[in-house]
Every structure is written in C-alpha cells, then in structure tokens.
C-alpha cells in the first residue's frame, strides 16, 4: 500500500521534481516510513508529547523599540525590487492574501 503520495507532498512543499526523481523518492520514502513505523510498537496513549528540550515558560520581551535596519541593507539580497523600495514578485491575485 502506498503510505505517502510524493507528488502531492512535493506540491505542498513547493518542490519541483522530475518524474524520475519523483519515482525514486516514492520508493525511498516508503522504505523510510516503514522504518519509522517501528514507533507503532510502542503504546504511547498515556504519554505527554515533548515539544521542547527546555522546560521554561513565559520567556518574553519588553515592548521597547530599536532602530530598524536600513532599507538598502534589507533589500540588498533581493533578486528584484520595484525602484529599490519594494520586493518585486510575479503578479499575485489581489485579495487572495490571508492572515
């Protein structure tokens, strides 16, 4: 049985794969996932998940502002800009933004 659909997952992750690579990855992923499935031997129903190796909470910052970075510096690595002010990207459908 196919556990993973590499084509679908690659699209989610925005990775272009040629068909040869996709086929190979499909096989590799199945081997890896079979190995990972060894975890199912364990009954973890009563175990709390661990997300962090440190046990601290409420590590917060005071609301004090700092001087932002100069724009030239922050846009210096941009592949394309609009007049050195905005980062240029291929057309995006207006209104599609979300939050």
């Amino acid at each position: 049985m196919k556990i993973i659909d590499v084509k679908y997952v690659a699209a989610l992750a925005r990775l272009e794969l040629d068909s040869e690579k996709e086929e190979r990855l499909q096989k590799e992923m199945e081997t890896i996932l079979n190995y990972v499935d060894s975890l199912s031997e364990l009954d973890v129903s009563s175990i709390e998940p661990t997300a962090h190796a440190v046990q601290m909470t409420n590590v917060l910052r005071d609301d004090i502002s700092e001087i932002p970075f100069p724009r030239e510096e922050m846009l210096a690595n941009a592949p394309e800009t609009v007049g050195g002010e905005l980062i240029k990207v291929p057309a995006v459908i207006p209104g599609e933004e979300e939050n």
């Binding site: 910052r61 932002p68 905005l86 980062i87 990207v89 057309a91 459908i93």
Partner: protein, 482 residues
C-alpha cells in the same frame, strides 16, 4: 416568514497597538516609507529567531477579558505553513489548539447599518488568538511588490460563533468589537489603515431545518460597510442558487466594492493544508489566577457600563448614551465635559445636534474635532447664564468650529453679549412698531400670532443680541397700550 435562515459567523483580525512588533523590536508604526520598519527577524532572514512581545500578549488577554473570555492557563504558539510572498518565513506564527482566550461573548444593540434598531443580543466568541501580521502587497500591471513594514505586527484573530442572522447584526457586532478595542486602548481599529479586517462565514438553510447549509467564506472586507453589503449580496446570491435547485459549494470568495459583488477566490479542492505544529523557537506561556486578576484590575469601563452610567447619573436618554458611546474618543470627550458642565444633558444635546452634525456634514472623523470640550462647556454656560442668546450661540459655535477660538473671546470680539437692559431693548421695540403699521393693525384686530413677527424684527434690529424674554414682555406691553 422568510424562506431561508441566514447563519453568519465573523473572523475579525485586529492589530494590537504596541511600540514594537510581535517577535522583533522594529517599531509598530503605520504610514512609513516602504520596507523601512524592518529587520532580519521580520523579513525572515536565515538564522533569525522570534522573541515574543509581552505587551502584545497582555493586551490580547485584556481583549479577552473585555469579551468575557476564559483566559488560558497554558497557551503556546504554533506554526501555520503556506507559501505566500507577503509572509516572510512561509509560515505564520499563530496559535492553533491553545489560544490565549477561549469562549466569551459580546453584547450587541443599537442601530444596524440599514438604520434599523436591533434587539439586544449576545454573540458568542469562540476564541481570540495572537499571531503576526503579514507584509503588504502592492499590485502593478504584470507584477506585484511587497512592503514588509506590516509583517510581524501583533495581530489578534477574534472568531465569533455562527450566531448572527442579519447583515445588521454583523454590523452591530463589528461596531461593538471596535468599541471594546478602542475602550481598552488595545487598538485604534482604523480600517483604512488595515488595523481591523474582517472575514465573513455565511450559510443559508431552509427556515426551520436543523442542519446548517454549506458555508461560504468572504475574505478581506475592509470596511463595516463592505461587510454589510457583501453579506446582503451573498444572501441574495445563495438564495437564488438554492431557489433554482442549485448547490452551494464550500469556497472562499472575494468582494469588490465597485461592482458590489462577491467572486470566487478558491474552491475547497484547493484548500490549504496548514500543517500546524508547536513553534519550536518559542516556549509556552502560563497564566496564574493572580496574573489574570492583575490584568482584570486594569480593565477600563466597558461601553455598555458607560451607557448605563450616563443614563443613571448624568440624566441622559438611552439614545443620547448610545450615540455618545459609539466612539471611545467621543465618549471620553463627553465624560470630560460632563465633569465641568452644570448640565451634562445640555452639553450632550450640543454635542449630538451641533458638533456631530457639523463633523458629519464635513466628513471629519471625531478625532479631528477642532473644538476642545472646555470651549463647548463654556459656550453652554454662556447661554444658560444669559450672557448670549441661543441665536448668538449658533454663530459663536460656527466660529469656534472654524477657528478654534474660545467662545468668550468670540463673544467679545463680535460684541454678542446679550442686551438685557429694558431701556435699550425698548428703543428697538418702538422702532419695530413704528416701521410696521400693517402688522400693528392685524394685532389689534386680534391676530396675536403676529407677535412672533415683531419678536423677529426686534431680534434683527438688535443683531440677535436682545434677550428674547424681555423683548416679548416689552412688545406685549407696548402693543397692548396702543
């Protein structure tokens, strides 16, 4: 009875007003040069890490308390993944299963957008969570450009229960939310600046039927008016589809103000798989009862409580109170004036009938109101103390509005002090009688209503300064003697 029941839920995003962004120390400032309020953190440069802003969290908890929400004892941030160029990391730090604020409610009442009165209602809040805002896309012919100044601004997402049934209720709910945020100083909720944005979930079902219909989402509504209009439009659209035996699809739609229509943005098939998981760069937040009690202590008066106080202790009508609490700045203005004024009710009348009308006519937002409340109180006192006539007061008011001068100064400059001296007014009375023999004749023939004509003449002759009561008395005396 209507054929369909309409079910509406709202997701409202509100920017939290803070000095700095949510996860970096860049200023949280609107209207600056594009990409000038940015740093490696809020632009998602390689190697950076987020660091949460305590104040944004505190204000979100405060918002929750204002909406009677349960505050989480344990809360955390999660990553929400999707690719979009306005989002620097291609994941948004948000909250998934453990939001800061849980179930709550908001009281709505007053007038809807259509002007109709809404019966009082409690709208449930599902949750309020805190996340980071995204950058702003500018659209050009053939390409887009991104400004990341907004990226990382603290953003609350307030999700309501699907408990509204009309566009007016949705409008009133938005108004109530805005009031609450302004009252607690959590956000200015200026929609033009994108500080408040709204998504609508709407479904129709046959009246009386239990199961909900298919839900359609309308995204990115940037005014209360377009929220109202889009709901009205969507109700008609969905009803038409259903009437014609069609099916409503679960989809996301956009709204164009110009055409007054919703349009499809994406269907369910292209729905996102957000892959939420706990943000490994950030540790959880915990709140004790004492923490929550401390924030509770700082809560300001709710609009609702304010309205009750205005009626009970300041002698306002419920209508006056409703109008004066619509806007936080306005209610603060009145509250301040009420402390100085002998009659808060008369001050309220001046604010509602003169000041608000004037601002409205000129499309000036209340924050830009040119008259300090102490001046308005002074004007009210000048009238009630008999220094100027009501007629002069209107003239003084116009002058105050135009030039920002104190009323006493205007009265002095224009010589508007009311004439209450009998002998001086008598001169005008005599003059008026002499100039209008025809009307004198009518009066003598028993047509007493002509007295008002003479009052008008005297006022004109005195340039509006004569005390109307004395004018009345003297006119009667003179005419009756003829």
């Amino acid at each position: 009875m209507a054929k369909y029941d309409v079910i509406i839920g709202l997701e409202v995003h509100v920017q939290v007003r803070t000095n700095t962004k949510m996860f970096c120390s860049c200023p949280n400032k609107f209207g600056q040069e594009p990409n000038s309020m940015v740093c490696p953190v809020c632009m998602g440069f390689p190697g950076v890490m987020p660091y949460p802003n305590r104040e944004a969290i505190r204000r979100t908890v405060m918002a929750g308390l204002m909406c009677s929400c349960e505050i989480a004892k344990f809360s955390k941030f999660d990553r929400k993944s999707y690719f979009y160029p306005d989002m620097p990391k291609n994941y948004q730090i948000s909250q998934y299963d453990l939001p800061l604020c849980g179930k709550g409610k908001v009281h709505v009442c007053g007038k809807g957008f259509s002007g109709q009165e809404i019966s009082d209602k409690l709208i449930g809040i599902t949750r309020i969570h805190l996340e980071e805002d995204v950058g702003k896309l500018n659209h050009f012919a053939g390409y887009s450009g991104i400004d990341f100044n907004r990226a990382g601004v603290p953003l609350m997402e307030i999700v309501s229960e699907p408990e509204m049934n009309t566009a007016d209720e949705a409008y009133a709910y938005l108004t109530a939310l805005k009031q609450i945020m302004q009252y607690a100083d959590i956000s200015d909720c200026d929609m033009e600046k994108g500080q408040m944005r709204c998504d609508v979930n709407i479904s129709l079902k046959l009246a009386g039927v239990k199961e909900f219909g298919t839900k359609v989402e309308i995204k990115n509504l940037n005014s209360f008016r377009s929220a109202h209009r889009s709901i009205e439009h969507e109700i008609v659209r969905q009803a038409e589809v259903l009437d014609n035996g069609g099916k409503i699809f679960q989809e996301t739609r956009g709204w164009t103000d110009e055409r007054g229509e919703t349009y499809i943005l994406r269907s369910k098939e292209s729905a996102h798989d957000y892959r939420y998981f706990p943000e490994p760069d950030l540790l959880p937040m915990t709140f004790t009862d004492a923490d929550i009690a401390a924030i509770k202590k700082e809560l300001p008066e709710l609009p609702e409580q304010k309205r009750e106080r205005f009626v009970a202790t300041l002698g306002l009508t419920p209508y006056d109170a409703q109008v004066l609490t619509l806007d936080k700045t306005l209610s603060d203005y009145f509250d301040e004036g009420a402390k100085q004024a002998k009659s808060p009710k008369i001050l309220a009348n001046w604010i509602i009938t003169e000041l608000l009308r004037e601002l409205n006519d000129r499309h000036i937002p209340f924050e830009k109101n040119p008259i300090p409340v102490s001046h308005l109180v002074e004007l009210v006192e000048l009238v009630s103390g008999g220094t100027i006539t009501g007629k002069s007061a209107k003239e003084v008011f116009s002058e105050m509005f135009a030039g920002g001068k104190a009323p006493k100064q205007i009265v002095t400059e224009k010589g508007l002090v009311q004439i209450s001296d009998d002998s001086e007014i008598e001169k005008f009375v005599v003059m008026a009688i002499e100039q209008n023999p025809l009307q004198v004749k009518q009066y003598k023939e028993g047509k007493t209503t002509v007295l008002q004509f003479f009052v008008g003449q005297v006022m004109k002759l005195s340039k509006g300064k004569a005390n109307p009561q004395i004018v009345n008395r003297l006119l009667k005396e003179k005419l009756d003697k003829i």
